[in-house]
């Protein structure tokens, strides 16, 4: 008891000594603090920024390197999130604003099958120096099923599609209800579709034939 009293006295003594150092606190309005905080861009820890950059780089790398476990895991995860396609191994990669967009890194060959396209549906085939193939409906939508070497497009409501193909893809085949309308083997391309000024192939899926 006596010891507690002594310690309290000593604490009070130190309090009194420390109070000799004090100055009146400035008058600061909380509104000014909030205004300053709101006017300033939010700080992000440098480590968090670096981690985000590394993660994005890692995911990007995984997406372009086919047949790796990480690649498959990324595709699977994205497919779970998207969850809008049918088929045995659906792998849509993203939704476009106007409908589902399919994107994938193809292996050596790929077949794109259009089922029951409505009259007037057009397909633009564009070869580009990219690693990823994409199929984008314009002005509508469709159901996509994506397999290992094939994309099946059914019930299209879009009047046109754009198929961007890696220039390095060795074999590409486009079919309409089982009928081939476009074929590429190596450097040889068979189609009756015309090309525009940019070199894209413009297929009318009603009429196109190899």
């Amino acid at each position: 008891m006596r010891r507690d009293v002594t310690m309290r006295d000593r604490g009070d003594e130190i309090d009194a000594l420390l109070r000799t150092l004090d100055h009146a606190a400035p008058q600061v309005r909380v509104e000014d603090i909030i205004a300053r905080a709101q006017a300033r861009p939010r700080r992000r820890p440098a480590a968090l920024v670096a981690a985000g950059i590394l993660l994005a780089a890692g995911v990007a790398a995984a997406a372009v390197v086919p047949s790796t476990p990480l690649h498959r895991a990324v595709l699977h995860a994205v497919a779970l999130v998207a969850g809008s396609t049918r088929g045995s191994t659906p792998q849509p990669l993203a939704h476009a604003a106007q409908g589902t967009t399919v994107a994938m890194v193809p292996r050596a060959r790929l077949t794109v099958r259009f089922l029951a396209p409505r009259p007037g549906v057009r397909l633009r085939i564009r070869f580009a120096p990219v690693a990823q193939l994409s199929l984008v409906p314009e002005g509508g939508d469709a159901d996509f099923s994506v397999g290992r070497d094939a994309i099946v497009v059914s019930r299209p409501t879009a009047p046109s599609f754009v198929l961007t193909v890696p220039s390095a893809l060795n074999e590409l085949r486009v079919e309409r209800d089982g009928t081939p309308v476009f074929e590429k083997r190596g450097d040889t391309i068979r189609t009756s579709a015309p090309r525009d000024a940019a070199g894209d192939y413009l297929l009318d899926l009603d009429a196109a034939a190899p």
Partner: protein
């Protein structure tokens, strides 16, 4: 920056309750009232930007403010102002003093400041936080140490402060006698 209304209300409440205390802690720690005011405000700005209150807001504020002070010290390599040398820093609420009393008060402040400055950084912060009413738990969180260590370290800091202040008091008395 979207901030929930409830968070803003909590923040305002915390600011009203803690700003003066945080300022006092920083003022005692730094010996520079203007710097203490700047840093206390900056700590609250960062708390607001955080978007949510931490588990232990007082400890969070003290830790952030202490880090800001350390950064400021590194940046500017400022030296503590000794109030005896800079008498413009009068204590709060002080009534005008007679010249002799003013001299004694300034001398006391200089001794307290010197005794505080004699402590290692962590012990100084610990002593000041405790005498600002922080619990052992809050002190531990603010300093990043175990709560069970606070008691022993605080006792050591208190003894060191008393020894430093007492020694200087003895020296001063000795000079007065001579």
């Amino acid at each position: 920056m979207p901030v929930r209304r409830s968070y803003e209300a909590e923040f305002r409440q915390l600011f009203d309750a803690q700003f003066a205390s945080l300022y006092r802690y920083l003022d005692r720690l730094s010996g520079e009232p203007e710097l203490a005011a700047d840093l206390a405000q900056e700590a609250f700005v960062r708390l607001y930007q955080r978007g949510s209150l931490p588990d232990d807001p007082r400890a969070w504020l003290a830790a952030v403010a202490s880090n800001l002070l350390r950064d400021e010290r590194r940046r500017t390599a400022r030296r503590h102002r000794i109030l005896a040398v800079h008498p413009e820093g009068a204590p709060s609420g002080a009534a005008p003093l007679a010249p002799d009393e003013a001299y004694d008060a300034a001398t006391d402040r200089a001794r307290v400041r010197a005794a505080l400055d004699a402590l290692p950084e962590r012990e100084r912060r610990m002593l000041l936080l405790r005498h600002e009413g922080y619990s052992y738990r809050e002190v531990a969180h603010a300093l990043g140490i175990r709560e069970t260590s606070v008691g022993v370290m605080l006792a050591r800091a208190t003894a060191a402060f008393r020894a430093a202040f007492g020694g200087r008091e003895s020296n001063a008395a000795g000079r007065d006698d001579a």
